[in-house]
């Protein structure tokens, strides 16, 4: 995601002046550029934390210090300390890799499944597409978390289970989106034109439908990573994900639950970190989506 950061700023001024000279056909939502920049910054921070946590952490994540247990956030410990005096900020930094991996893994599983189901539903013969549509409809009747919990019950709680459970649980919704996108591309003017020109079906599929249907998935993938981290941490929060000795964010939440009344930062701050990351992912995903829709990249 950070790779898109430099390219996001330059093309903006010309496109803005273009819209001011020609009257816009639809009213544009005013875009908050600073929010996108901030979101890119947030993601860059977490990417660094995942790759080289040692650079960002102020303490060793497992260093016990019983003399300073349950300290509120302050100068020495930015996010406070837990019951054994471990620095929460450093634990959050060191937990980033696992949390992000779970989020990315789940998003990959989810969109991979969605791509298979969605394209079958949109492109296969009548019987197959009908059955796949029904299957997606059936799966859609299971709320995401309940579906995930069902899979956890079968597979037993672990990080791998979290990836599979969250990925499979959220796939039906994305499958619908993929199907809609392929259908929209198939019914578009350029496909009609290509058909009229006598291009073979396979070529139209490869050259027109797939590229146009897949491109929006970049935006959806970004949104999906944010959501997956939220769902996965919900499982951990319920005690059904990665177990507490780990500093995965959901596990931090679960561990902090017992101290809600006298050390609320132990649960509020890891939660806030997840919220900020999810929000950053959503902001960037929506920005990519808006760019793709308005045609400037």
């Amino acid at each position: 995601m950070t790779a898109t950061a430099p390219s996001t700023t330059p093309p903006v001024p010309p496109s803005d002046t273009a819209t001011s000279t020609t009257p816009p056909r639809t009213r544009r939502v005013p875009r908050l550029r600073w929010s996108v920049a901030l979101a890119v910054g947030v993601l860059a921070f977490f990417a660094l934390a995942a790759i080289a946590p040692g650079l960002l952490a102020t303490h060793a994540p497992t260093a016990l210090d019983l003399t300073s247990s349950l300290r509120p956030p302050g100068v020495d410990h930015w996010f406070g300390t837990d019951e054994s005096g471990r620095d929460l900020y450093s634990r959050v930094v060191f937990g980033t890799r696992e949390s992000l991996s779970i989020g990315l893994g789940a998003a990959a599983v989810s969109l991979g499944l969605a791509l298979v189901l969605g394209s079958l539903a949109a492109l296969a013969g009548r019987f197959v597409s009908g059955s796949v549509n029904r299957l997606v409809e059936i799966l859609f009747a299971f709320p995401t978390l309940l579906f995930a919990l069902l899979l956890v019950a079968i597979l037993g709680p672990s990080a791998t289970t979290q990836i599979i459970a969250v990925g499979v649980g959220s796939a039906p919704g994305y499958a619908r989106i993929v199907r809609g996108q392929i259908l929209a591309a198939r019914q578009s003017g350029y496909v009609e034109a290509a058909t009229a020109l006598g291009h073979p079906r396979g070529l139209i599929l490869r050259q027109h439908i797939i590229p146009n249907a897949v491109r929006p998935l970049v935006a959806i993938f970004t949104l999906c990573v944010g959501q997956s981290i939220v769902w996965a941490s919900s499982l951990s929060f319920l005690g059904l994900g990665v177990a507490p000795p780990s500093s995965e964010w959901g596990a931090l939440l679960d561990a902090g639950r017992s101290y809600v009344t006298h050390a609320p930062w132990l649960i509020v701050i890891p939660g806030l970190v997840i919220v900020v990351l999810a929000l950053a992912a959503t902001t960037i995903g929506k920005d990519i989506q808006a760019r793709l829709e308005s045609g400037d990249e």
Partner: protein, 347 residues
């Protein structure tokens, strides 16, 4: 939260196509229309039955999916530990759950049981799953319905106040919606609990009976949902504000608030109605978490305990019941839709 179907995308187009406040359907004969509505409802019902059958099949398959001999699994789940079982012990369990039958027979028995409202027996609690769920589900539904209701109130207020105003106000409106829509229930719940129950002492920290105990958990579900529905409603609201019927209402001397409430809102809430059916599922996901935070009774806690102990009949039972509720809610939404927007009756 996953964005739902593409139906909401087509709505502005429909609204633009026949922009009239009055239900001006140029119907050709009431009989044919009733027939069309009837056919629509029957096909919806068939689809609903199909979804339920699929959900039941998935639930049955899930019970088979636990690795190992099922009788041994059941005994181990009961004891909470894995030990070797004697044939006599296993025989009793096989007898009780009919595990010696071929899978097809077990499947048909399961479906037959479901049709009679029998969800099977809990591995751990030695009683029918329905009894376990039945005593808890009322509390969960009370919570989710209050949550959806509150979300509607919040959403309508917020959108009516901020949509189509000055750019700064609109930007604020959109920003608040984006942020709230992304708040995970566990975090929002904890923050509300800390601020309003522990900090200000306005609400009971744990449990609490009646409305007072219900408000904070319901708000936890309502706020993200309101943000999410608000995003869909806002764009429809702003499209509707530019329609000719709004201008004509203003020309008749109608005040701004009255125009918004009487004419615009009616057009703008359609996407939110669709989302409400879907929201039932989403709020139930949230309810599982919220019940844990606020230590409220409900199926969420039962579910978490059952997942922990791998008591699969309870897990699948809850999933099937919720899927059924979801299907029923979406049928209702379809009907509500036709009532709110008469233009759809003919299409």
């Amino acid at each position: 939260m996953t964005p739902t179907s593409s139906t909401e995308l087509t709505l502005p187009a429909v609204a633009a196509a026949s922009a009239g406040g009055a239900p001006g359907v140029a119907g050709d004969g009431g009989g044919r229309r009733t027939l069309a509505v009837g056919r629509r409802i029957v096909s919806k019902l068939l689809a609903a039955v199909l979804v339920l059958w699929g959900a039941a099949t998935a639930a049955f398959a899930a019970q088979l999916a636990l690795p190992g001999d099922r009788a041994t699994v059941i005994l181990n789940v009961r004891a909470g530990q894995a030990i070797q079982r004697t044939p006599e012990e296993l025989a009793a369990i096989n007898e009780q759950y009919g595990l010696t039958n071929p899978v097809v027979v077990q499947y048909l028995n399961y479906l037959g049981g479901l049709a009679r409202g029998d969800l099977g027996a809990s591995y751990q609690q030695y009683r029918p799953v329905w009894d376990v769920i039945g005593e808890q589900i009322g509390a969960t539904f009370a919570l989710t319905f209050t949550g959806i209701g509150l979300a509607w109130v919040l959403m309508v207020l917020w959108v009516t106040l901020t949509a189509g105003r000055r750019p700064q106000v609109r930007a604020l409106g959109t920003f608040v919606e984006t942020v709230t829509a992304g708040l995970p229930p566990y975090w929002l719940g904890i923050v509300l609990l800390l601020v309003f129950a522990l900090g200000l002492g306005w609400f009971p920290v744990i449990g609490g009976s009646g409305l007072q105990g219900l408000l904070l958990p319901a708000l936890t579900l309502a706020i993200p949902l309101a943000g999410f529905m608000g995003q869909a409603t806002r764009s429809a609201f702003e499209t509707a504000l530019t329609q000719p019927f709004v201008i004509s209402a203003r020309m008749r001397g109608m005040g701004d608030l009255a125009v918004r409430l009487r004419h615009v809102l009616r057009h703008a809430v359609l996407p939110a109605v669709t989302l409400s059916g879907w929201a039932l599922g989403a709020t139930i996901s949230g309810a599982v978490v919220v019940e844990t935070i606020f230590t409220r009774p409900g199926i969420g806690k039962v579910l978490v305990a059952a997942v922990n102990s791998q008591d699969l009949p309870v897990v699948t039972g809850i999933v099937v019941v919720i899927a059924a509720a979801y299907v029923a809610a979406n049928l209702l939404v379809d009907v509500a839709y036709t009532v709110i927007d008469p233009r759809l009756r003919t299409s």
